[in-house]
Amino acid sequence: MEKLLHSVYLDEEKCLGCTTCLRNCPTGAIRVRGGKAIISESKCIDCGECIRICPHHAKLAKTDPLETKKNFKYKVALVPPTIIGQFKPKYTINQILSAVKALGFDEVVEVAYGAEIVGQALKYEYHARKYPRPLISSACPAVVKLIQVRFPELTDNICRLKSPMALTARLVRKRLREEGEYKNSDIGIFFITPCAAKTTMVNNPTASEYDKYDQIDGAIAIKDVYSDLADLIGNCPVQAGIHNTTADSCAWALSGGESDYLKNKNVLYVDGIQNVINVLEKIECGKLETIKFFEGLACIGGCVGGCLTVENNYVAKMYLKYRVKRMKQNSIVHMSDEYVKSIYNSGMMHIKERILPRSPEPLDQDINKAIEKMKQIEILEEKLPSLDCGSCGAPGCRALAEDIVAGKAKEIDCVFILKERIRDLSILTNDLLQVEHPTEKPLSKKE
């Protein structure tokens, strides 16, 4: 797949320009122009809200087809715990994972394996004391981007441990390298993704989280393989012992799953992008100073609510909780405190670069010009009807005023202003109709 900054895109054929997505975008990244929705590259955080909300299913996430894997000699599927919630608990986890393997993979690895390590290492990172409080989870890439775009003052609070997905990929590559049977370039690792944000992370070369040792070669949407899996589960050979993770690590797919690893009462976990925004606003204002760790997940319920999943998020949560309660395994085979510590101390699970703000551009680099533009925006805003109807193609009247000042829209894009102009014009037309021109014969008067 070509490298993309975003995985959310528009199917132009299906988009009617209906404006539903406009007002539901948490970063105001969408405009409708020429009857089609346009997504701003700099503002989109890949949260997937527009994919969920579009009544015409015109918003999609660009993922890789299953066939992409044929380019590699040794094919590995990374399976997030979210997938377990997609199927009824009457099937065993071994059956589900074996079905994934039967899609044509040589090996299936649970991302929960990496989650267990990241979860346990979280307490070391928490006590490292280099973070302002609260420490903010980096698990959800959409929330990380949200903070970069809308809460730039909080970027230093973001935990710089890699995601379970990236760490798992790295450990798989490390093991295969040590085994020596395949060249690194012959190994294809594919993430079975529940959401657009993770897809972007896999495909985005600029994601600071990555280096070549944790390369993931593609992201395959859960919904794209769901029917095949449903056919295979229970009808394909089951590999015993393929499932090797703990209840805690599988709970990462649920809101609060990561927080539970800290065993600290001052943690706050929130799911749903709007709820996350509300709480981040409080954190930003210095309220909630008693909170030491904050886990924010963009989708309702956590990853089980991802826009590329199939099962209803509440049902998926119920299935997953049911299984987690019944899992017997308390620890992963071969995983000791020393092992987790050695990985933590090796530096391989740390994001090297600082996570930097991606604040939107100011109105102008020169503050005087910016103030001048702000005044123009406010004058325009006064003229607009404050209805935020979206008919102009901007998410609200304020946004239209900003677009006009930026030269990207016109006043008459507002249907109410257009109506006013038409009314003024019709009054003028009517007045002109009454005028008798000197050289004209008198109009015949109706009796």
Partner: protein
């Protein structure tokens, strides 16, 4: 070139709590003020806004932005503060139980404003009201 914005805050209006601070933050971001300064203004502004809603009879927040500094004025119409030195002490509060139950009234408001502003000036008169002027350098 100076920018000025006046926002009203009503007594007891917890539904709108935080709206003024949010608006101020958005405007400062668009004017290109650094995120470090915005954070300080956000904290001080939110405290001021909550003070108006909880303790005052209502008032205004006035934001003024110039080339080198910005000021935030919190002005109310009463009741006024009796002992300013005491009111500035961390943890001192006149908030009643109802307000405390809502998670406010920890007595850190004026203390936090003073802490985050580069320059803090408060005047108050019983019966007339309180006026706080905070200045923040843009460097």
């Amino acid at each position: 070139m100076r920018y000025k914005l006046i926002l009203d805050v009503k007594r007891g209006d917890f539904d709108a709590a935080g709206e003024a601070s949010r608006k101020i933050k958005d405007i400062l971001q668009q004017l290109g003020v650094s995120s470090k300064v915005i954070r300080k203004v956000s904290i001080a502004g939110y405290e001021g806004e909550m003070n108006l809603a909880i303790h005052s009879l209502g008032g205004k927040i006035i934001l003024e932005v110039g080339e080198e500094e910005l000021s935030l004025t919190i002005k109310d119409i009463g009741p006024g503060i009796d002992n300013l030195d005491l009111a500035m002490t961390a943890g001192w509060s006149t908030a009643d139980d109802k307000v405390r139950q809502m998670g406010f009234g920890a007595g850190m408001g004026l203390f936090n404003m003073n802490k985050h502003a580069d320059n803090f000036l408060i005047t108050s008169k019983i019966g007339a009201g309180t006026k706080i002027v905070m200045k923040f350098s843009l460097e």
